[in-house]
């Protein structure tokens, strides 16, 4: 279920004002008393099974679940940190910066692998690769590209087929898009070549994964680049229409991370929910495809393709660095 969907094609940087929530939902436990205030960048439809299974184990709690973009969440939480108990976001860099700047509450006794946590404050609980998702019918006889390089070749060879049919994140809007873009740029020069081509082919820019996948399903676009494969896979109704490709040259795998607000007065309940998230138990409890891939994805052998939780993530959040990156990106993608 989607309450608010935005397709943003606005040029220019957003001005930080009162946040506009994409969704606000209250999940009530059977004997709900205390209410946990959770802000998240994850659509409630994807997250609902997790919350439901948590509340069935802890029926004395309610969860107020608000959804906004990862950048929106980051700004909102920095402005009023005492309004929320738990922050869940796909933008690892923004989350890490929140912890670094002292906005998170440390839980000492969470049994979690070293690589999936930072300062016992930020905990990764999903592994979600950045994927190339294609609409099979739009490709026709053309080969579905398996890597960035192959995609460059396909696009160069068939500019007319794909003009206006490519979608990717607007890195100025989407924290996750920015994270994927910077990690891609860090890994290979191919990224800029690809962006040049995207610019030439009048690429559509999206704020969020959901909107991009929706358009892909409707056939408005043929390729969604760097979109979360997990979102696409969660749409089981689209399984026939789309194909999810993990780029074989270098996949970027994101961890959805959660932190407990520094000033929360519901440490115990927030701790319970966070422990539940990192335990991956929801993966079994929910028992359905329509949910997030847990941290223990058997298909991911190489931990190096997981974006590391380390101070380096904050580099691209530097004002000057971000400015120059956005400038370069705009030069490439927007004409």
């Amino acid at each position: 279920m989607r309450y608010f969907l935005f397709l943003i094609l606005v040029v220019g940087s957003p001005i930080v004002t009162a946040i506009e929530w994409e969704e606000q939902r209250i999940f009530k436990g059977a004997n709900g008393g205390e209410t946990l205030r959770v802000i998240s960048s994850t659509d409630s439809s994807v997250f609902a099974p997790i919350i439901d299974s948590f509340l069935s184990a802890h029926p004395y709690l309610n969860i107020e679940y608000r959804v906004a973009s990862s950048t929106g969440i980051y700004n909102e939480y920095r402005q009023s940190p005492d309004q929320y108990d738990l922050v869940i976001s796909s933008a690892m860099d923004l989350q890490l910066k929140l912890v670094n700047d002292g906005y998170a509450f440390a839980l000492d006794d969470v049994d979690h692998p070293e690589w999936a946590q930072w300062r016992q404050s930020l905990f990764g609980f999903t592994l979600e690769p950045a994927s190339i998702v294609v609409n099979k019918s739009a490709f026709g006889n053309l080969p579905v590209p398996q890597s960035r390089q192959e995609m460059i070749e396909v696009l160069r060879a068939n500019p007319d087929v794909f003009r206006g049919k490519i979608g990717t994140y607007d890195v100025r809007q989407s924290g996750l898009g920015y994270l994927f873009a910077t990690q891609d740029a860090r890994a290979s020069d191919n990224y800029w070549r690809l962006m040049e081509i995207f610019g030439n082919l009048e690429t559509r820019l999206y704020c969020c994964s959901g909107a991009m996948i929706e358009d892909l399903a409707q056939g408005r676009i043929a390729i969604a680049f760097n979109v979360l494969g997990s979102y696409a896979a969660a749409r089981s109704d689209l399984a026939e229409k789309i194909e999810i490709v993990l780029p074989s040259d270098f996949p970027n795998i994101m961890m959805r991370t959660a932190l407990i607000a520094k000033s929360t007065r519901r440490v115990r309940s927030a701790g319970l929910f966070l422990r539940y998230l990192v335990s991956s138990r929801w993966n079994d409890d929910a028992g359905q495809a329509n949910t997030l891939p847990s941290l223990h994805l058997p298909s991911i052998k190489d931990k190096r393709s997981i974006i590391a939780l380390e101070p380096g993530l904050m580099i691209f959040l530097d004002r000057l660095k971000r400015q120059s990156f956005i400038k370069e990106w705009e030069n490439a993608v927007i004409h």
Binding site: N100, R119, A308, L309, E310, P311, G312, I315, D318, S324
Partner: protein, 456 residues
């Protein structure tokens, strides 16, 4: 003999041990702090050098383009600051006095013009951080501008490292302490050892042994041992002198006593009056006693002298005893005592025959003296189990309560009244026995007689 006790106050071993342990403890504590301090410095230096690399890489990434400062910080600037404890990182970049990027409220120290980099430990957001600051002058298109970059990092990893180092230093210190304590124990015992050796060598000495201590001793004990040697030689000299004096005195009085006796005997022949005769007889008995005492004193002096320079030779003990018995038979007959020699035919022994003759004669002499009339004194010589001479009489035996003291000098049994003697007989026999590594045992026979055994 009395065993004297020393006036003991304190213990060298304990004093030495306590002193050494104190020194070791002080050293251990010192060592612990020195190691810890040194390690802390090194740990801080390693953090500093990473901070320096990071801040330098940031500065290197700044450039002036068309009068505008651009800064393309490499990813590695921060990722190199990754630590096991996920230390937090704060940074700020200033252009002249204006904040260009980073954390506005992170204070930057005044840079001295000649300083490359400044490190300091400060509190930022109420947490202790280590801060490295460096600056660089950018020049271009008539513009000169000073770029200052500063990186601060929390010190969680450093304190974890320090804890680990402290723990290791403590373990190391404990090991050092244990080893040093063991070494101290060894040092104490090896220092004390010569003293113990000296003590035991002096304790093991025979009662007559006053020879100087010959074993090598450490310098520190030299004066003690030379004093001891000196003391013993004076003691020996004084003993010898007194023995000499006694022998000389005995020798000198013997002749006059013999003269007095012969005169008394002659006079006894002439005197008719019974009371006078009694007086003379008493006189003769007294001179006999004096003569015998003088003789025994001489014997004793001789025994003491010869015992010191013992000359061993092989001889037949039976022949020696036979000769004594032969010589004493007339005296025995005068007392109506029969001397009976029995035992093995020959018993070869090694020793000083003169001393042994003296000892055996004294024993038989004693037996004769305490034997009643018409009795038998039995002398047994055998070689099994060890060569021995046993003299047994049929007298009253030794007084049971005094047996232990009887072999001491000038000690006589309570029952000896009316018997001529000096009390040196058993002493002489015993000293001879001891000089031959043998012993003299005295006992009473079941029939009540005395039995003295001289064994090798």
């Amino acid at each position: 003999m009395t065993s004297s006790t020393a006036n003991i106050s304190g213990s060298l071993r304990r004093t030495l041990a306590i002193t050494l342990l104190c020194a070791v403890t002080v050293l251990t504590v010192l060592l612990y702090f020195v190691i810890r301090n040194y390690a802390a410095q090194i740990a801080q230096q390693s953090q500093d050098s990473i901070l320096q690399a990071s801040v330098t890489s940031m500065l290197d990434a700044t450039k002036l383009r068309e009068g505008v400062v651009e800064m393309d910080i490499p990813y590695v600037s921060f990722s190199m600051l990754n630590t096991a404890t996920d230390d937090r990182v704060f940074y700020t970049v200033h252009q002249d006095d204006k904040v260009l990027s980073g954390y506005d409220d992170l204070q930057v120290p005044q840079m001295a013009t000649d300083a490359n980099i400044v490190f300091r430990s400060i509190n930022y957001k109420d947490i202790p951080v280590r801060q490295a600051t460096a600056s660089r002058m950018l020049v271009g298109d008539g513009l000169r501008t000073q770029i200052t970059a500063s990186i601060a990092q929390t010190q969680d990893n450093l304190s974890v490292t320090l804890q680990r180092i402290s723990r290791n230093a403590a373990v190391f210190g404990a090991g050092f302490f244990l080893l040093a304590a063991l070494l101290s124990a060894w040092v104490v015992s090896s220092t004390i050892r010569p003293l113990k050796k000296l003590a035991s060598s002096v304790t093991r000495r025979g009662p007559q042994d006053l020879s100087p201590v010959a074993m090598p001793v450490p310098t520190e004990m030299g004066s003690l041992v030379s004093s001891l040697n000196n003391f013993m030689s004076r003691l020996e000299k004084s003993l010898t002198q007194s023995e000499d004096f006694i022998a000389e005195a005995a020798h000198r009085v013997r002749t006059p006593i013999a003269t007095v006796r012969s005169h008394a005997e002659i006079t006894l022949q002439r005197v008719e009056k019974e009371e006078n005769r009694q007086a003379l007889k008493a006189m003769i008995r007294a001179t006999d006693e004096a003569s015998r005492a003088a003789g025994q004193l001489l014997d004793h002096a001789m025994v003491t002298f010869r015992a010191e320079q013992l000359e061993f030779q092989e001889f037949d003990l039976v022949a020696l005893v036979e000769e004594i018995v032969l010589r004493l038979t007339p005296i025995a007959e005068m007392r109506y005592v029969e001397l009976c020699l029995q035992g093995d035919a020959t018993v070869m022994v090694s020793g000083d025959p003169i001393l042994i003759q003296n000892a055996v004669r004294n024993l038989i002499d004693n037996a004769l003296k305490y034997s009643p009339h018409e009795s038998v004194a039995t002398i047994t010589v055998r070689s099994n189990p060890a060569p021995y001479v046993e003299v047994q009489d049929q007298g009253a035996g030794y007084p049971v309560q005094e047996m232990k003291q009887l072999t001491g000098r000038f000690s006589r049994g309570k029952n000896s009244h009316g018997t001529v003697g000096s009390g040196l007989g058993l002493t002489i026999a015993r000293e001879v026995a001891l000089a031959h590594n043998g012993e003299l045992t005295i006992a009473n026979t079941p029939q009540g007689g005395a039995c003295a055994t001289f064994s090798f």
